[in-house]
Symmetry: C2
Subunit: 570 residues, 2 copies
């Protein structure tokens, strides 16, 4: 279990600071991440990688020449927020656009996707690279649903080498896509890991058993089998990958034998001793194999095998030199650290332009409503936590209270700077996502930002603009979250709210009346959703549990709708 | 616990094979170790490092330009045998002599010391570098008694850089000695490690406690304290080292923050975050600090801090480029692998020259006696194990049976090749040490080899030569083992045996009568020793337990003396 920490909630931030201090000759700290001390040439496509902490050397250890330009670090096993990703991406951008690389998990998909939208809105060519290598997490016919595990390394390595070679964005993305399509992994677990400050592991494997196909955050696998000798374990790891060998592939493979933390180097070498024979029997030739710890899961016991089916182009990028704190290959002349002030972009606060008097009045109104919402969510924190704990991890109330409080603060500050309704709501959304954390924080962030952009800062928004804003918020959530009505997420109560609001407004009703009707329908839907939620408790997969806080998310959204409805002026 | 293995006894050998296969571009496998694929220039001083397995990246991961020329790997937590070290050292030698570097543990001191003697006897300039950095294991006034822990890395790194720079043997050893004197470490443990195939850890730390000053094989520390936050832990690691800061030292320090296996990178970074401030407060400037896993102890939870007080010369060697599988620094142009056949020396069997008829007859007699000893030890295996288990780890009977059986085989083969008594006994000793393993195997090996050299291969040995051989065997054991009568080792029964044998032979008695008297006195001493041995069981330090198998070693030696006495011809 994790033993070395101060306050558990400070673990990831302290680890980031320590990493940057220990590697001060190679990386430079920026808010919530690190960039190369010696950045690539102007115009180079930048690769930003990231995800939750707890996986070192993923992702900070990959920052260096020939690999990533920057990494962003979330809390332990939690996606970094949209704002964090956005900030580090701005610091990493060399003018050639930024690729946002991450493992394919719901929270990461949401936050990296949302950050990419914001970057593109600012004129930065931002692309998404979600690694999907874990064959245990979905079938070959559902490749896009697969999780990212240790395949992160070869996919990022090949992508980073292509970017370092000076290819343009479309060409780098073509290589990256081919690398991801060519990469498959399978993992086994012997025992779970324990989060800083917690007394029990995220999962356990019974003594004498081995879990097949487990993920890197305690996600359950596809089965358990009795523990076996190393020779059999080697075959168990390799066979599911051989089943996906592309037709006509000539046998060259990049290979990663990855330890998850507590399964040590010499155990991996014992496995490798067997794997060399099995690979050869299968007609495969390992190219620059890597045996060690590359994507860990705190102190989890287990290991995974990754193959990337190579062709001439992929092999060239896989073998190209690289020099990062945790991954070196070949010989790279270490460039001198740049004198320029990296990271200034990431820190610069948004400049607020004072709006006209009507817009400022509308801004004050929006800020007041957010204040009401924040107070209501603070009151409801315990109850929302209780609802969430029945099917999830019980932190939904805390996240909503924290996020809305931060949003109210940010709104108040924006008001004082003379912001209009649109800016107030957008900045409130950013603050909400930043402080609430998790998937629902990210969803609320993108929703409020989208709504704010619909409102704009030109005078007092019309009733129609408010309804269109609700629609925009809905669209952003559905686009990024991918959930539909019935999936037991906040979408279940959002959809009826938006639908009723738009119908009533289109019918010419006043905003207060239309809103109240919409909030009532939303509440009915939330109540129904909560009752439908199965009572699975801790046995439920973490990934599923964290996706949108089923039922509690719908309940809290309806609550917010009612609070705003009750306080709407006029 | 260690999970990945086939037969536990094959773990270290399979790990070595896997390591060499995974790093085939960098190292070449030799029997029981690895050498650089591209050896240093002819005439270069070679650095061979080693010790037990279970500590990766120590020691195999250190083989490369600017660091070690070769590494030899024993079984898990067990010293490599004299013959293994000797063989790998011959493969590593480039004509400039070989430095044998290891941590200061009884078994390693014995086997590396014995190997150095054999190398010197063959005209190779072999030197000993025992790393003694662990401040918890002995006081500053008993520096030579300290164990080697993660200080291995800076001491070997600095020594390797000096050798790479082309210094001659005396100059490299002067640098190495200064580096070792300047290096101090302190470690803490959160939980023990488990040997392959065993169900329980070597030791445990109570929940909520942290063990202070623990070693890297489950040796107990100096105390336990309640678990503390990372900030306090950082201070706890640093304070004992600051207490040994040399007067006038200017503050430059090489720093290693080392994880023992299960304490992961991000935990180490959290500690480093605090240590940077504490080092600065103490007026210390870290030079190229290393934060990671450098000397592990299987999956033990814990960490250690190492400082090397630098001056200009040591700093230069610390910062010099290096390129080994597990340690890279700066930029080294990777040399092409050599075409020459490395390792042929290590594999070549000793050539046996046929002796004269009398010497061959004496050789047959010696081989027959060893056969009797082997059969007696096989019969006594269980009883010796039972005696050993009362104070040690219970494997003495197994080691003696295995060693003597191998010795009898080797002796029989030597006889068939026409060897004289001296060669038969020497080769039997080598085989004994090789197969028995452990400290007592090494002692029996050097003893029989010394005895064999005293007998020689010229005709039938005289009674005086036999007695002188006994004395030579005694001297070799005392020189290498360092034990005295009363330390409850085989020396307790060896000394009276040798003393009585020499007295009786000097008085003109026949060999059979003199030997029988000596064996009887040896048996009395052994019985007394065994009764004196305290019954400490598993709580006893592993290092102490393994040192010469107290009491059981004395018993088995006396048994051998009786068996030989009963079967002596004439």
């Amino acid at each position: 279990m994790t033993k070395v920490f101060d306050k558990p909630e400070d673990f990831a931030a302290a680890a980031l600071a320590g990493f940057c201090a220990a590697n001060a000759d190679r990386v430079r700290a920026v808010a919530h991440g690190a960039v190369r001390a010696a950045p690539g040439p102007r115009g180079k496509v930048a690769l930003l990688v990231g995800g939750g902490s707890g996986h070192y050397p993923a992702f900070l250890g990959y920052v260096g020449t020939g690999l990533a330009d920057a990494a962003v670090a979330g809390d332990v096993f939690a996606s970094p927020s949209t704002a964090w990703i956005h900030g580090v991406a701005k610091a990493a951008n060399r003018g050639g656009g930024v690729i946002l690389g991450f493992g394919n998990y719901a929270g990461d998909v949401l936050n990296f996707g949302s950050a990419a939208e914001r970057l593109r809105a600012e004129g930065i060519d931002a692309r998404i690279l979600a690694v999907t290598d874990d064959v245990a997490s979905a079938g070959a016919d559902e490749r896009a649903k697969r999780r990212g595990v240790a395949g992160d390394l070869p996919v990022f390595k090949i992508t980073g080498a292509a970017a370092e070679a000076g290819l343009d964005m479309d060409a780098v993305m073509a290589v990256a896509g081919r690398a991801n399509d060519a990469t498959v992994s399978f993992g086994v677990a012997f025992d779970g890991c324990t989060l800083p400050g917690q007394g029990t592991p995220l999962f356990t494997v019974d003594a004498g058993q081995v879990g097949m196909g487990l993920g890197i955050h305690g996600e359950p696998g596809i089965s358990t089998r009795p523990m076996m000798p190393a020779a059999d374990l080697a075959r168990t790891l390799l066979d599911p990958l051989l089943a996906e060998r592309p037709a006509g592939q000539d046998g060259r493979v990049a290979v990663i034998l990855n330890g998850l933390g507590r399964t040590k180097y010499e155990e991996l070498f014992v496995l490798w001793h067997h794997l060399t024979g099995l690979l050869s029997d299968a007609g495969l030739t390992p190219v620059d194999p890597e045996v060690g710890e590359f994507v860990t899961s705190l102190d989890m016991a287990g290991c995974s095998l990754t193959l990337t089916w190579l062709d001439d182009e992929l092999e060239g990028y896989w073998r190209a030199p690289a020099d990062a704190p945790a991954f070196r290959k070949g010989t790279v002349a270490r460039p001198a650290a740049a004198a320029e002030d990296i990271g200034a972009d990431a820190e610069s606060a948004a400049q607020i332009v004072a709006a006209g008097p009507d817009a400022q009045a509308a801004g004050r109104c929006v800020a007041a409503l957010i204040g009401h919402v924040a107070r209501a969510l603070a009151d409801a924190e315990e109850e929302l936590g209780r609802i969430d704990a029945q099917a999830g991890d019980g932190d939904h109330g805390q996240g909503m209270a924290r996020g809305s409080a931060a949003a109210a603060d940010a709104a108040e500050k924006a008001v004082q700077a003379g912001a209009g309704a649109g800016t107030v709501l957008s900045l409130a959304g950013d603050a909400w996502a930043d402080r609430a954390g998790g998937t629902s924080g990210a969803l609320w962030g993108v929703a409020l930002r989208a709504w704010g952009q619909a409102l704009g800062d030109d005078g007092k928004p019309s009733v129609q603009a408010v309804a269109q804003g609700a629609q925009a918020a809905h669209d952003a959530i559905v686009r990024l979250g991918g959930a539909q009505v019935g999936d037991k997420t906040l979408v279940d109560s959002l959809v009826p709210f938006v639908q009723v609001l738009n119908e009533r407004v289109a019918a010419g009703e006043a905003l207060g009346i239309a809103w109240a009707a919409a909030a009532a329908r939303s509440t009915e839907a939330a109540d129904a959703t909560a009752q439908l939620t199965p009572r699975l408790g801790r046995a439920r997969p973490l990934a599923e549990r964290s996706l949108g806080h089923p039922d509690a998310g719908a309940v809290s959204l309806a609550l917010c709708a009612r609070v705003v409805g009750a306080n709407l002026p006029g």
